[in-house]
Amino acid sequence: MTRLTFRRGDAVVIAAILAASIALTAAFVLSARRGAAASVEIRQNGEVLAVLPLDEDAEFTVGGAYTNVIEVRGGEVFFAESDCPGQDCVHSGAVSAAGRSLVCLPNRVEVRITADSPDENAVDGVAG
């Protein structure tokens, strides 16, 4: 009754997942604009806390459930410090291209690099 061996239908499922993955990637790549990066947008719970220029070194601290220290340095932005349990945001590294973003999920913080048009769709890291 229980089907235990690999069937042709299973291969179809794999193909469907791969196709969905490729289609989604294509959609995001096509929709992301690659203009000159202009500014860093820091959001918490979807609300914009700050917009910083990317070419000016700065440090920004976000409170909330946890404390994140976000640093802009040399045209890059990264989570310098965080007291969240996973530390995924700190491990995500730095981003510099428009459309890229970094996330600290426990603190509901998203750092996004926006070009002149604010509609960008690539994500570099998601933190748990």
């Binding site: 089907r3 235990l4 996973g86 994500v123 998601v126």
Partner: protein, 176 residues
Amino acid sequence: MRTKTRDITLCAMLVALSLALSLAERMIPLEAVIPLPGVKLGLANIVTMFALYELGGRYALAVLVCRCALASLFGGGFTALAFSLAGGLLALAAMALAKRAPFLSVYGVSLCGAACHNAGQILAAMALLRSVTVAAYLPFLLLVSVGTGLLTGFAASCTFRALAAVPRRERGDREC
């Protein structure tokens, strides 16, 4: 003959087992191999699949919810609970549907579960961050889910095969 007490007891054991698996999984540094935060093997899903096949959807749901609630107590809190529930519930729904498809084996069911688990987690991330950009992360997670889905499918296949070899009497299906 099966009794309700026996099923509930089995459920409790499955909750304990899946909780142990999901905690043990946190010690595996899979993120060192695949540098995507949140990537997991989904070992606890083997138990959910077993509950689904052996006891049915309602018991599988109970095992899943209990496991998620207990696992969040061991670290992660509300964020972890929201994520594992969103992923787990969507995965269970997908697996319950996939199980009915005569052209799919446990591998296909497991793959559907893994892919939908990731989709559910991305939905949770989108809701928590109120941001659509997080969805760009989904294609990578889907790629990883093919690997993890096949792995848990293989584990489930081995488990079911091994259990089928155990005489019914020793599995506790006798009258009492």
